[in-house]
Symmetry: D2
Amino acid sequence: MKYRVLIDANDEKGLVHKVSSVFFNYDLNILSNSEFVDKESNKFFMRSVVDGDVDKNELSNAIAEVLPKNSSVKVIEPKKKNIIIMATKELHALGDILVRHEAGELEANILGVVSNYDALEPFVSKFNIPYITVSHEGLERAEHETKIIEAINSFEDVDYIVLAKYMRILTPRFVEAFEDKIINIHHSFLPAFIGANPYKQAYDRGVKIIGATAHFVNNNLDEGPIIAQDTIHVNHAHSWRDMQKNGRDVEKVVLSRALKLALEDRIFIYANRTVIF
Amino acid sequence: MKYRVLIDANDEKGLVHKVSSVFFNYDLNILSNSEFVDKESNKFFMRSVVDGDVDKNELSNAIAEVLPKNSSVKVIEPKKKNIIIMATKELHALGDILVRHEAGELEANILGVVSNYDALEPFVSKFNIPYITVSHEGLERAEHETKIIEAINSFEDVDYIVLAKYMRILTPRFVEAFEDKIINIHHSFLPAFIGANPYKQAYDRGVKIIGATAHFVNNNLDEGPIIAQDTIHVNHAHSWRDMQKNGRDVEKVVLSRALKLALEDRIFIYANRTVIF
Amino acid sequence: MKYRVLIDANDEKGLVHKVSSVFFNYDLNILSNSEFVDKESNKFFMRSVVDGDVDKNELSNAIAEVLPKNSSVKVIEPKKKNIIIMATKELHALGDILVRHEAGELEANILGVVSNYDALEPFVSKFNIPYITVSHEGLERAEHETKIIEAINSFEDVDYIVLAKYMRILTPRFVEAFEDKIINIHHSFLPAFIGANPYKQAYDRGVKIIGATAHFVNNNLDEGPIIAQDTIHVNHAHSWRDMQKNGRDVEKVVLSRALKLALEDRIFIYANRTVIF
Amino acid sequence: MKYRVLIDANDEKGLVHKVSSVFFNYDLNILSNSEFVDKESNKFFMRSVVDGDVDKNELSNAIAEVLPKNSSVKVIEPKKKNIIIMATKELHALGDILVRHEAGELEANILGVVSNYDALEPFVSKFNIPYITVSHEGLERAEHETKIIEAINSFEDVDYIVLAKYMRILTPRFVEAFEDKIINIHHSFLPAFIGANPYKQAYDRGVKIIGATAHFVNNNLDEGPIIAQDTIHVNHAHSWRDMQKNGRDVEKVVLSRALKLALEDRIFIYANRTVIF
């Protein structure tokens, strides 16, 4: 049996030794191993992939026993996670995820797509993935969000909600309901150009580089822990619409990269930052 | 004779034709030619390098005659420009410029280095470049700046002032005195992390990319027209001091790149943006 | 009427003037204009986008008249070009093109997909695009290629053939039949790792960067004029299969970028190189 | 006391456990820890930085005892390493190292510079670093190299020889005399453009990207284990001399990066590859 072991603990001398002792005692093979200690906050992070014959809960308990109190241990059996994608009208980021899914690149089941428009339904339906349109027209934000939550809850065991250019602001109620589960792509190099139409903002500021940021949404829309970022060069000849077009290539790659990291249990969230192994 | 011709005009039909007619009539060879029209503001920019036997002023007047009123024409004979470098205590950006100068990479005479500390004097004196320390200790900002301006004005025909990690804020008085002549390197990807200690800010925000921005200083410190930017990837294992160390490599490369563009008369400033050929 | 004007001529004094005179005489508005002179070979390249009321052939003839003999002038009315995609078993590059097409990002009609396997048919058929399987099993290379050419010729007015990871070597006969029309993505940074399994070669050499190259196929498979290249960093922890997985993201982006350049008539082919405006 | 512990062993179950037990028994604090297992060859690599009160040799022996036979253990006290720089006529790479040294960025003493020309002596002498010119004029390659080796051997305890654009081919005799100690910067993205004038080769091939490669020289000049690589974009407007100029910025950054990794004992050499922590 192969397991991913994720440990998040207060640091103290001997943690690697103690955890590796447990692996050794259970005769487990360590396939890969990464650790990081944040000196400033005295926090220890470890991700190991181990292989061997042991019960998942037994292993988890054995590790917990050698760790300081208040530590977190997760022993995860690698399997496909369930994701829901939210989008508005733009196809590129959603399309990239669907093609990767089709190509077997993602450890994921796509349960469905939820959108405030029906614009992407013809595309999504090609892939036999349920598409739920929840129009915001004529609805208060709270009402609309209630319906969105209902749509999401119509699926079971949702591991991640991927905002693939979902262009509506989410309320704290929504965000709290899916803590550490919402991954957003923001179409700028955060924290530059927070808010609406970042490409227009970037153009007006005369930047020579634009970027995209994938992050968890745990609070305000553009302020959660960053998972991945990338940038491309632009020049004076690019109008803001050109920047937007070119930016889409970065957006889709960064979002898909972040999603993969999440699906492979490589991300620790901590102090509004991420540790990524 | 080789000339760089820089034209900045309101756009109208036939400008390329009219300007190239002048070149043709003077039997000039066009070595390179770039144009850009900003549709939004109806502005036309052109930079040509021409070769031939013509008087500089005559050429300039002939071009001005075919352009709309209020156009700007510069006919520049390529030669070394005079620069002053300002720095505080960090060596990397200043050192990079001095080594490039030594290697003959820059079309520049370095008139002198002005600093608020004497920390870099031993290094600069190796290169037989005057070093003027203007300590800010015990001085009001205005008093200090008056002395800095005096130091700069002790040199003649200054074309550019390069802020190679000069860590003091400049007042509008200073900036206005050297309009379009001050090039600064800001140690972040502007407009993210404006202000003090951007690496600490970047670390706290948990970014996965850091950058540097070279820009003209025409107003507030971090808000002038951007000339060049670049970025590098960082990760959770980088403390803010690591980011600072790695960031220096980007800072020095971006500043030197911007300086070269300025020395080669490749930059138009316009609406707080730059057009770069 | 909007036209793209592409000129390829032996350089001589006054070409810009002469061509812009023609535009001026026809009262055309120049929307964008790029020139390049290759000093070494004395060649002049120009691409203009002009807007105005003129007959295409008349404009073409008027320009040809002012150019040296043996020059090439193309006046192109922007419209969707017809492309055929060839693939083998990998989905990522083909999928990226199909999604971009669906999103309206490409100035192209996709006439069909031709493959030596039926593996990608289920995917392609979702998009109502004809899929022709031409198995190479039991066939000599020449026989197989004859059938491939028949499949391609079953479509009309083919502008470009895009090899989206088509993993069979093409013979000179094929290549000559579609000169300057075949765009290939090679899964390495050419000219490194020419030939089979470049990721394995890259791994064996211990490189720290991998790349992809989009190029025209005018002769030997990996030796035509390069259109676009890009690279990503890898490290010791990447097996060659990891490199292959990560490399796919570069491959698809580079191929799509090259295809766009071709569709927008931005590429001149010359001396086994490309000039790209 | 702080130590860097470098382990290179055949992999077997429990190695992390066994080594961390030693650290634990000596009451050492693990400041950072990286491991990598190369499955294909069954090799285990580990680099730990530990802090505590223990004798260096005692620690080394204690670790060796728990490892399989034929393992390599190095316990290194961090201190400045002694380097010699070899150059020919180009200043940029050498200059970058000297400025970094001056800025305190390098854990190194620069013992001297050895060159086949005196061109760089005026620059190097500014820094009070010995400069030895060993002209190759009128000498057979073997004779010249004997003199170079004598010049190098006039310094004591040389840890690394840095070829900062030393443009002469080294013989196997030289290379064997300084195994795993010679770091070279090759002015191309290896293995593309091996041999003379890679920028000319790159230009002729019409590439859209150029690069630089820092590597150990253990055999043929361009074939040793790669430490670091980077690339930049170029276009049709770049002559090969422009590529050369722009390439210098990459060369110097990549060489300095590789040198730092070596000075910080972060590199394992293995099967003509490097593992870098």
